[in-house]
Amino acid sequence: MTWLELSVSADNEAVEAVSEVLARFGYNGGVVVEPAWTPGDEGPEFRYDPARPATLRTYLPLDAQSEELRQRIEQALWHLGQMRPIGPLQVRALEEEDWANAWKQHYSVLRVGQRIVIVPSWLEHTAAPDDIVLHLDPGMAFGTGLHPTTRLCLALLERHARPGQRALDLGTGSGILAIALAKLGAHPVVALDNDPVATQVAAENVRLNHVATSVNVATGSLGAGARMGHWLSGNFGDEDTQAATDPSLPSPAVTTTFDLIAANLIARVLCILAADLATTLAPGGILISSGIIDSREPEVHTAFEAVGLQQLARYQEGEWVALVHTRKEENEQQNSS
């Protein structure tokens, strides 16, 4: 698919007004603002340079209407230009591939936890004897190992995964956690995701790592999760739309229980899935939940406590929290009730 990128420079005081014009016509109301700043500045001392103009961009899908939209933006900017200095509108065509793969050139070998090494599939790496190497091409799926939510999970898997455990990776994305589980000895590993693009990527990564005999990748979720829809659908996980969403999403019959579950999701979804996670976790099993933003952590506590999950540990990196829970043994549950 081809897109038009429209850019214009404007001084600091005009930025909001130009944004307003671009948002009115641009795709999805989206606007990019790149303020001027001095390169080489370090984190906390960073300063914008308000004296120099900022660059603003918006995007239009290249179709029958794009030329008319472009003209309307140009007209609106011309009028603004009568009041404040605004640069000429620049247009260039852009292919989806131009950005979908652009980030790859910045991605390098990454060490996480004690022994895990993530190697982009297009790079070579000589592993140390103890290394657990994950070969990965995340493509358009979540899970590169760079994000704190994934890093926390990997470090916790290293601590809790044991050979022969039955494991579930819920919301597998690129498959990174499922592959790590398999390489740490878990068998069998079920990797589920609501997003068919993700399961395709995950299956490819599983093959790349030669763990297809252990890891079974499928599109779907657990119980309530199967009615949640696609995670980018806009109303993902809304309580009131759950019943109305497309029931066509396959829900693999997960009848077994697991000794270890990794769920790198988000707080709201963890709450919705709490009961399903609890029933799918074997007594004495370990649940690693991640993707919890610290401000919403109390919601997860409440939901997990209500279904009898017991917290063992809590880890935080920046504003992201990962939790380790277990399910009480059957007899303990009876005693406590």
């Binding site: 909001e16 007004a17 014009v21 995007y59 852009l94 994305g173």
Partner: protein, 141 residues
């Protein structure tokens, strides 16, 4: 040790509804950020403000990690709401889209203050009144 900051990008997006499509993909892909990582983080942080435009500032570091900070709503949106105008004037130098009072201007400046480069509230008001003017919104006493 502070990680080196290599770029800062601001995006205006509908809360909770970011996708890898433009503007997110092209704006972040060129800086080496995993697009899905940003999409997940933005949607999670902004989901409670669904229905609004929530601008976000992304700081990109040399190891390609990034931090995401939600900003206050665009001044243009606040001005539109305060004035009751459906949109800015297409010809602000000629036709007016609406008006707001000095008091409303001060309220907007106060709300926007944390994200502005202005030194004081008067400076912030000056910037916002400039935005109002360029949208064809008049400020009245």
């Amino acid at each position: 040790m502070a990680k080196k900051l290599v770029a800062i990008v601001k995006l205006q997006l509908p809360a909770g509804k970011a996708t890898p499509a433009p503007p997110v993909g092209p704006a972040l892909g060129q800086h080496g950020i995993n697009i899905m990582g940003f999409v997940k983080e933005y949607n999670e942080k902004s989901s409670s403000q669904a229905g609004s435009i929530v601008p976000v500032e992304i700081s990109i570091f040399s190891d390609r990690s990034f931090s995401v900070k939600l900003l206050t709503p665009p001044a243009a949106d606040l001005l539109r709401k305060a004035s009751g105008a459906a949109k800015g004037s297409g010809t602000p130098n000629r036709t007016s889209a609406g008006q707001i009072t000095r008091e409303q201007l001060r309220q907007i400046a106060q709300q926007k203050m944390p994200d502005m480069n202005a030194l004081d509230i008067e400076g912030a008001e000056k910037v916002i009144s400039g935005t109002a003017r360029s949208m064809g919104i008049k400020i009245v006493d």
